[in-house]
Structures are given as structure tokens and as C-alpha cells.
Amino acid sequence: MKHLLGVEDLSREEMDLILERAQSFAEVGRRDIKKVPTLRGRTIVNLFYEASTRTLSSFELAAKRLSADVVSVKAAGSSVDKGESLKDTVATLSAYDPAAIVIRSPHAGAAGLVARWTEASVINAGDGKHEHPTQALLDVFTLRQRLDSLEGTNIWIVGDVLHSRVARSCLLAFRTMGAKVTLCGPPTLMPRGIEALGCEVSFDLDGLDQADVVYALRMQRERMSESFVPSLREYAARYQIDSRRLGPRQLLMHPGPVNRGVELSPEVIDSPQSLITAQVESGLVVRMAILYELLAGNDRARPERGQAPADTPTIGQPA
């Protein structure tokens, strides 16, 4: 594996490899000293064109735990605000010879383009409404902590599917791992033709009691002004996951950040069924595993890189 651009490109074997690696990092995480020297001297660039708290912090921490040098470039206050093209920005950052570029972009396919323009490994941290593969992998990891296997499980993804890259990547990942997936949401927020990805589609919560896992999506307030739904009140009445709808043996997930009282009622967020905090924990070890598999795996192919910290340029020492 050179890049992680989408779940679409991942085989089950590759996913298993990452998840097993994540498991070993989870054990490291229980030690007092949580840092390993694997990526010492390597540079990882986080290039974020969209605001992000948990994905960015999780990638930064994952890189640091692996002893890499990390620089995070955010759209606000950088050259990207001055009209520099993505291609030119990538060329500039590639001059630092990074081992990996982690990119979040509001546009589908941005990570794929970056992969064409740089020697570095590219990790898609969200491209438009297209994919968010690291989220899907951490969700699968989280579920496997609880369920051992996803084979034959029944997973409902509920909410604004239309605007959700999480929904797409999770659908693909859950299906690859053998789960049966139902997408549920208002018809106005359900992409026409989505069934072709191999899922059921439902416009109401009838049948939710059959689900082993309920995965709620974030409902953004701006969807009201675009008249996708008449009101948050009506949305919540029809689609909110609350303690009445969530059974005691069903697991609850959410990619965050949660709109309390919209897609989830406050009491289910803090219920024992909720895996929301576990998802954040998984995010760290899964991203460590991804960096490890892409970069340490590459050591075998590129022995001249990685183990020579003195020669590896970092930010602050102009190359």
C-alpha cells in the first residue's frame, strides 16, 4: 500500500492488516510511555482545507506517537488563501520531502490528485462528500472490539446521507467486512441511485429494531435553509435516535461532532450502548496503524529513506 485514498480501493486483507496493526498499537497505548520510534526523522504534513478538530488532532497525535516530525497546514492564514492552486501547494510542501501528506479537502478526488503530484504517501482525511476512509476504518475497529466480527451484522446508518462522506466510506467498509447495511434518512437527503452500492434504503425508522448497530450521522443546520427538511423539529421527530428507539442490545455510533437533541437525544449519547468515545480512542490507534503500514511498509522498498534522520529535512530547516 502506497496511499490510502478510499475504502473503495481496499481489500478485506488490507483492512485486516491495518486493524491488526491498530490492535498492537492499542496495547502500546496502555503503557506509560506511549511513544515508539518507528517514524523517527520522517516528516508528515497535514494539509487541511476544512476545519477539523478530531481528525486533525488525531492525525497529529498519531504521527507524534510514532516519533515523526509533523507540520499541519490549515487553509486559513496560509498560501492557499492567497489563491495558490492545490498543485502548487503540494509542490511546495513536497520540497520538504515528506513521507506522507494527509489531506482534507472540500472537493471529491483531491487526495487522488495530490497522489499524482507528490512522491509522498497520500492519506485521504476526507475529500468532499466522497470518502473518509480513516473514519470508516476506525469505526470498523471500534465495532470489532465489541462484536469480534461484523459478518452478518445488521447496521443502520441514519441521517443526512447525501452530504456525508462518512456514510459512503462506512457503507463500503461495513459491507467489505460482511455486514448488511441499511441507509435511512429523509428522501431529500438520500442520493438518487445509492442502492447501487449494495445497501437497503429506508425513509423511516421502521425496522430499526432489527439493527445490531445504529450509526447516526451529523445533521447540519444549514440544510434547513436549503429546504432539504422543513425543520429540525420535524427531522428530530422522525429520525432522532433516542432511548425509546434505541434498544438495550443495540450499539450506537456517531462520527462527531454531535448535535445534541437533533440526531441524538442527550441520554443515548451517554448511554452504555454508545461507542462515541471509543470511536475517538480508536481513531488514534487506527491512524497510527495506517501511517505505520504506509510508511514503515515502504521502508523495505525504499531503504535509503526513513532510517537516516540526519539527512531527512524537516520544517524549520529549509531543504
Binding site: S85, L86, K87, S105, H107, A108, G109, A110, G112, L113, D127, G128, K129, H130, E131, S164, R165, R168, P191, R192, G193, I194, A196, L197
Partner: protein, 459 residues
């Protein structure tokens, strides 16, 4: 000559088509397969061009050599009436970094075209007599084949106030179009259709309901669902066609519907034609050969408006071409600079170039597999001027020489030797196509020779 505007008779350049005057060609194309469905010609013949006119169509090998006349070995080659494209973007004035009249017409000639109709969504748009006059002047110096310029229907393409259509018509507008944008306001379009009685000129329509298409970057369907990109539903096109056909029939006006992309659109046109609406329409090589599956690559070369649609839509377009619902083939040649395409798909400029690959793409994907006969392809690629009053070129004695000489067996890789166009956003780039234009005679002048072919002749 045969390429004349508004039926102004043969033997003279139509007043609405304009090009740089060139020397009349003297040529003998020996033993080529002359093929013109309009005159029923399909035979090995010598084609004799004297002073830019088809002087003779003689038995193969029989035409006597004349001093000063170039002899071209036509063995194995196809001589067709040259093509006419009713829809290209030459980007003049204002966007010469994408294309200009010289590169655009050279690109057209390289595709076997003898005339093109240029759209008016330039910068500034062609919405006044002064701007129209200036581009026509430039065409007289720079265009290697005939160009007809449409003028805008509305000032600044803002869709609000009509341009001075009558004056524009006098100054040489070959028709009217706000192509690039729809005329969303039905009242404005209705006024334009009424005004056509005074100004003349067909109104060419880019059909898109901007409320339905808003935000979309590709066809709405399974592929857009998988890619998470906002879709342009096919009904954004077909509902506008239905509305505008109703307006046209009410005002007894003449409209030309541009770049059909969807089954529902073909059905609307068929219905309208049956009801007697004076409507013609076109389809592009890319909509006839590609589908939205190509967009899975997220390659911005597959981004154009209207977008590539489904296989079912493509089949409907082919059927429409066969049964005559679709009158002609238009490239919608839309050059863009590299930096406007080397960006994420959603950010990229709309449009693809197509003049140099139109024949080869359709010949390779539709004629060679037997989907449509060559005869139909040639008919629909030569009649693109008819909605604008330009007769199709013919291979017959006494006609101006408008000839595309093609090697139907030559396989080539698109873009390998670059393009004649200034831009290279061609959606067939990198593909192997069969059938290559070797030489184009346009308006009696040799407008293009393929490099290797020119060398072959010289040796």
C-alpha cells in the same frame, strides 16, 4: 461554393460566414473512395480541384496531370464532403489563453471541418454590433476555415434584456445564443422569439433549468451517488426543452436545441417535431460515445455541461441520430487552459475540446462496430450549418472544394503528437482511435495537412 449562408447562392462566400482569403487549390486526388450520401456518390474516382472548385470527378486514374496541380495519392483513402460544426467556442475576444481564431480554426481543419459556428459566451460576450464587427474583422485575418458568429440573445448574457438583435443580424450574426447559460426567464425568451420575426436568425438554446441543476457537477445517478458529488438531473434539461418548444410553437419561432444529453430530452424533441414545432437539435461525440462511468476516474477532462449521462441516455441519443430526431453532430469544442482543469473535479472548468477527434471517435465507437453506418455519420457531420441557413457541402462538379481526406484504417493515439488547439482538455486524450483526417480543403483552400502526410507527399 456550397458553404453559403442564408441561401445566398453558390459561388460566393455567404455573407455570414467569414474566413481569411486563401489561394484556390489545384489538386488531383487520385483513386480515392469518394463518398457523399447527398449526391449518392460512393466510388473510386479521381477528384480534380481547380482553382478551389471541384472541376471534375473522373474515372480512377483517368484525370490528366496538369502543370502546377498537386497530385495526391488517394489509394486507400476516403474523400468526404468536409464537416460543418454548429457549436464551437473559439474564445475570442478575451480568452485567448484558451484558444484564438487561428488555433481554433486550425484545430477544426485538422478534424476535417470546413466551417464552424462560434458561440458568443466570450469575455466580453458578443452582445453588441461593435464586438461582433471586431471578431468578424479578426476572422478575416486569422481564420483558416469559415466561421459564423452567433450573437447573444440577452445583453451581457444576463438573461434580462434583449440585445439589438436586428442590428446584430445586419452586421453578420449568423444566429443568436446565450450558450453556456440557459435563458431561464420564460418571458425574456418569449420576447426574443417574437423579435425573431424582425431580426431573423435561429435562436440556439442551451437547455438547463438552473434551479434544478444548481450545485451539480455531473449527471445525477448511481455514479454521483457513489462519488458523493452533486448531480445535475436529466430533467433539468428535458423540462426546459419542453417549456421552450411550447414557447416556440406559440410564437411560430425557430429554435435550435444544443447538445442533447438525455433520453427524456430526445423524447421531448421527438414529440415537438411531431407536433410541428420548428425545432432542430444536435448531439456531441462525447455524449454519443461516453457515459458518466468515465467520471469515476474523477478526471476533470470528463467534466462538461451538459454532463455525460447513463448508458440508457447514450442509447437514446444514438437512436435519435438514427431516426432523425437529432439533426446534426456538434462538438461543443470548449478549450480550457491546463490550470483550469488540473484541479479537483468539482472545481474544474466545464467543457472539453473535440474538433480534432469528432470524426475518429464516432468512426471508432459507432461506425466500425456497426452501430451506425458511415453514411449517417457523414450526413450528420456535414449538415450542422443547416439550422443556421448554411447548406451542407457536396462532392459534385462545380461546387467549391470542401473536402476531408481521411485514412479510415490509420490508428493513432489521441494527443500523442499534441493538438492543433491551444488547449488539450480532450476527453479522448490517450485513447487509440481509428480514422485520421490527413488533409482538409475548406472553401477551396488547403486548410490542413497532417504532418506525416504532408511529408509523404513531398518525398
Amino acid at each position: 461554393m456550397n458553404v453559403t449562408a442564408n441561401g445566398s447562392g453558390s459561388g460566393a462566400e455567404g455573407p455570414k460566414l467569414i474566413s481569411r482569403p486563401g489561394p484556390g487549390a489545384d489538386l488531383i486526388v487520385r483513386c480515392a473512395r469518394l463518398f457523399d450520401p447527398r449526391t449518392g456518390l460512393d466510388a473510386l474516382r479521381d477528384l480534380v480541384v481547380r482553382d478551389g472548385e471541384i472541376a471534375e470527378i473522373a474515372e480512377p486514374g483517368s484525370a490528366p496531370e496538369v502543370e502546377g496541380a498537386e497530385v495526391v495519392d488517394g489509394d486507400g483513402l476516403l474523400a468526404l464532403p468536409a464537416f460543418v460544426d454548429p457549436h464551437v467556442h473559439l474564445r475570442v475576444p478575451g480568452q485567448e489563453h484558451k484558444e484564438d481564431l487561428e488555433t481554433g480554426t486550425r484545430s477544426a481543419a485538422a478534424g476535417g471541418y470546413c466551417a464552424v459556428i462560434a458561440m458568443a459566451n466570450t469575455s466580453p460576450p458578443i452582445d453588441s454590433a461593435a464586438i461582433l464587427g471586431s471578431v468578424r474583422d479578426r476572422a478575416e485575418r486569422e481564420a483558416s476555415i469559415s466561421v459564423g458568429f452567433v450573437a447573444n440573445v440577452t445583453r451581457g448574457m444576463a438573461g434580462q434584456e434583449l440585445t439589438e438583435m436586428a442590428e446584430l443580424s445586419e452586421v453578420g450574426a449568423i444566429g443568436f445564443s446565450d450558450d453556456g447559460l440557459p435563458i431561464a426567464n420564460a418571458r425574456v425568451l418569449r420576447r426574443a422569439l417574437q423579435y425573431q420575426r424582425l431580426a431573423g436568425g435561429v435562436i440556439a438554446l442551451h437547455e438547463e433549468d438552473p434551479d434544478l441543476s444548481a450545485g451539480g457537477v455531473m449527471n445525477e445517478g448511481e455514479v454521483s451517488a457513489a462519488l458523493g458529488m452533486a448531480g445535475v438531473p436529466s430533467v433539468s434539461e428535458s423540462t426546459m426543452i419542453a417549456r421552450n418548444c411550447s414557447l416556440a410553437v406559440y410564437e411560430d419561432a425557430r429554435i435550435h436545441v444544443q447538445h442533447l444529453s438525455a433520453r427524456a430530452s430526445v423524447e421531448e424533441i421527438a414529440r415537438a417535431k411531431q407536433a410541428g414545432v420548428r425545432v432542430t437539435c444536435e448531439a456531441t461525440p462525447h455524449h454519443l460515445t461516453l457515459t458518466d462511468e468515465a467520471v469515476r476516474s474523477l478526471d476533470a477532462r470528463f467534466k462538461m455541461n451538459p454532463p455525460l449521462r447513463t448508458e440508457d441516455d447514450r442509447q437514446a441519443l444514438i437512436e435519435g441520430l438514427r431516426d432523425g430526431t437529432i439533426d446534426c453532430i456538434a462538438t461543443d469544442h470548449a478549450p480550457h487552459a491546463a490550470e483550469e482543469k488540473e484541479v479537483p473535479f468539482e472545481e474544474a472548468a466545464w467543457g472539453v475540446t473535440g474538433l480534432e477527434t469528432a470524426f475518429a471517435a464516432l468512426f471508432t465507437d459507432l461506425v466500425l462496430p456497426g452501430v451506425i453506418p458511415l453514411e449517417l455519420l457523414v450526413e450528420r457531420m456535414t449538415c450542422g450549418g443547416e439550422p443556421f441557413g448554411i447548406e451542407a457541402p457536396r462532392l459534385e462538379r462545380g461546387a467549391a472544394a470542401n473536402v476531408a481526406l481521411i485514412d479510415p484504417d490509420l490508428t493513432w493515439t489521441v494527443g500523442e503528437e499534441g493538438y492543433e488547439s491551444r488547449s488539450f482538455n480532450n476527453c479522448f486524450g490517450g485513447r487509440e482511435l481509428t480514422g485520421r483526417v490527413l488533409m482538409t480543403v475548406a472553401g477551396g483552400t488547403v486548410a490542413f495537412r497532417q504532418r506525416s502526410f504532408a511529408l509523404g507527399v513531398a518525398s
